[in-house]
């Protein structure tokens, strides 16, 4: 719902609304939070940085949004250096942090007007823009209510609206849907997806594989501060066994090792088992031919099947094939939370 002059400006900005990250390193004490991170995000695309808790996602976002300085390496946002031209970077970006940064004692409208004034839009323009965004984000009815009466989903929407006040050409969304119920998440996804239509570059982090899959044109996988792999959704899926996987869930998780051995021959090194859920995935080679074979082999071992399906691989499978563990696992929780906490402060 941008007016024509804004759209005009956006299409101009769009051409150089890129993100260039060259060899960023950041260390907190003994923990290497970011290890030689190199990424390029093209203008007008949605880019997802996918990784588990404490993998360095927030630290990278904080460096790109001028909140934190890297130890070494450089980053350019829309051509501006994040350290030397920090104030210029701030004028072209919008940031929605991990937790909604909205004022509880102010109303939704006051929150957006305040941000507009801090972008120096001038009072009348800040008011008009607030009104516009409140409508766009379906918050008109709650506009004059204090934010402390808002639900989690409403806060997130207001927070996102606040990042859009000055129509920034590059949006940084740090885990935008963490803590939301499924319905609110779907709503927010629609809003985020619509931003790319306005020629905005979106850099989002997530630990939800489905989210990256759904929203992003390109995905990079980060773990322990290192970018493990990047590419399009399809490229990432291809690396773990093609377009469709056979996914079998056994009734008794305790038999996962036996099931694994029974099916090993069919999947080879592309076979993965998830002891936590009792699931095993293997490449299907594009057809259904493998399904009866899976049933026969498990049956021969007297292993009960709970579910059997032919499904496209999710990014969870990709993550497992690259890192050897699923994205939900946090290999070293203590260390990772300390990184996250320090990252926030």
């Amino acid at each position: 719902m941008e007016n024509s002059s804004e759209t005009g400006q956006n299409s101009v900005v769009c051409t150089d609304a890129s993100i260039n990250i060259e060899g960023i390193n950041k260390r907190f004490g003994k923990v290497q939070a970011l290890d030689n991170v190199k990424l390029v995000v093209d203008p007008g695309t949605v880019f997802a940085l996918l990784g588990p808790n404490g993998s360095g996602k927030t630290t990278l976002v904080r460096i790109l949004t001028t909140l934190l300085r890297a130890d070494t390496g450089t980053a350019h946002i829309a051509g501006y250096d994040v350290v030397r031209e920090a104030q210029l970077v701030r004028s072209v970006i919008g940031l929605a942090g991990q937790y909604p940064a909205v004022e509880e004692i102010l109303t939704g409208k006051e929150n957006l007007e305040m941000i507009g004034q801090l972008y120096h839009l001038g009072k009348p323009k800040a008011k008009a823009r607030a009104q516009e965004l409140l409508e766009q984000f379906d918050l008109s009815d709650a506009a004059n209510r204090k934010v402390k009466t808002y639900s989690g989903g409403m806060r997130r929407r207001l927070d996102l609206a606040a990042t859009l006040v000055a129509s920034p050409s590059i949006l940084f969304l740090d885990e935008p849907t963490t803590g939301l119920d499924p319905r609110s998440r779907l709503g927010l996804w629609e809003v985020i997806a619509s931003q790319a239509k306005y020629c905005k570059t979106v850099f989002l982090t997530t630990q939800y594989l489905e989210e990256a899959d759904r929203l992003a044109n390109k995905i990079a996988i980060i773990d322990k501060g290192r970018i493990l792999r990047q590419g399009t959704n399809q490229e990432l899926k291809d690396c773990c066994g093609g377009d469709t996987l056979v996914r079998v869930k056994i009734a008794d998780r305790g038999e996962i090792t036996r099931a694994n051995n029974a099916l090993k021959e069919l999947g080879g090194d592309k076979l993965h088992s998830y002891p936590d859920t009792g699931e095993i995935t293997l490449p299907s080679d594009g057809g259904t031919a493998l399904l009866p074979e899976v049933v026969r082999r498990l049956d021969a071992e007297k292993i009960m099947i709970a579910e059997l399906a032919l499904k496209p691989p999710t990014l969870d499978d990709v993550f497992l094939s690259i890192t050897g563990h699923t994205a939900e696992e946090t290999p070293d929780l203590k260390q990772d939370t300390s990184v996250t906490k320090r990252g926030i402060r």
Binding site: R62, L67, L88, R90, G97, A101, M114, Y119, H120, K125
Partner: protein, 261 residues
């Protein structure tokens, strides 16, 4: 929408204004903060005056006459610890990240806080004067010196607020901010001429009390409200104000830049 990152004077002042309004609204919409703050000061004033007042020799004048000018100073000294708490809270809620990612005048976030706190001090001091008057306090030196004295106390409050700002953005959480405030505030308030004449203290403590910035501030206010020589303590207190603001404003702005490093 022509948004250019600029820190020209008009934008800077506008940012400070917006940030001041934000903090003022907090006082207006959560009045219990200010109400309890005021209540605490009234209770302390009553307690100290009636519990200790009789036991302290103040050279022939009623204790409330001696004490109230000092108590007004104490109000802003204690008040500055709230600045630390408020800022630590802002930091813990992630609001500070939003402000730091905007192309706004960088010192505005902290300055807006200080301006709002200045208004708070003015309200509290006026309230102390009213309650003190009910308890028998009289300005023996006319109204103008009092106005000047209150202005000086507020300036002193501003300088200490920058100390509070620095602590607030340096500590890790709200509770620490609370305790950290008390650590520096109590020696300042008690080891000074605020409650008792310095001459009654052991000599080593007198040395500290003489240097203590609270002492010249209290002496100035006392002289302004009761009559007496102002100039010596006035220069001392103005020098302190300048030195504290310069040091802690610089340190706070540096620290603000480095939050999260």
């Amino acid at each position: 929408m022509n948004i250019r990152a600029n820190s020209n004077i008009i934008n800077g002042l506008s940012d400070i204004g917006v940030m001041t309004r934000r903090n003022m609204l907090r006082y207006i919409r959560l009045p219990q903060l200010l109400v309890f703050n005021a209540l605490l000061n009234v209770v302390l004033l009553l307690l100290f005056n009636y519990v200790f007042g009789g036991a302290i020799r103040t050279g022939g004048i009623a204790y409330i006459q001696y004490f109230l000018p000092g108590f007004m100073v104490q109000t802003v000294v204690f008040g500055s610890t709230q600045t630390s708490v408020g800022l630590a809270e802002d930091l813990s809620k992630g609001m500070i990240d939003r402000f730091r990612s905007l192309p706004m005048f960088r010192p505005a976030f902290l300055t807006g806080r200080v301006v709002a706190d200045t208004v708070r001090y003015a309200i509290l001091i006026v309230l102390m004067i009213i309650v003190g008057s009910i308890m028998g306090f009289r300005f023996e030196n006319g109204i103008l010196p009092v106005v000047a004295g209150v202005a000086l106390i507020i300036l002193f409050g501003i300088s200490l607020t920058w100390v509070g700002v620095f602590i607030g953005i340096s500590v890790k959480d709200v509770e620490t901010a609370q305790v950290a405030g008390f650590v520096w505030v109590f020696p300042l308030v008690f080891a000074s001429s605020l409650y008792v004449p310095i001459e009654t203290m052991p000599s080593w403590l007198q040395v500290f009390a003489q240097i203590n910035p609270v002492t010249p501030m209290v002496d100035t206010m006392r002289a302004l409200s009761l009559g007496g020589n102002v100039s010596a303590s006035l220069w001392k207190t103005l020098t302190w104000d300048g030195a504290i603001i310069l040091a802690f404003l610089t340190m706070a702005l540096r620290r603000y830049k480095l939050i999260g490093q």
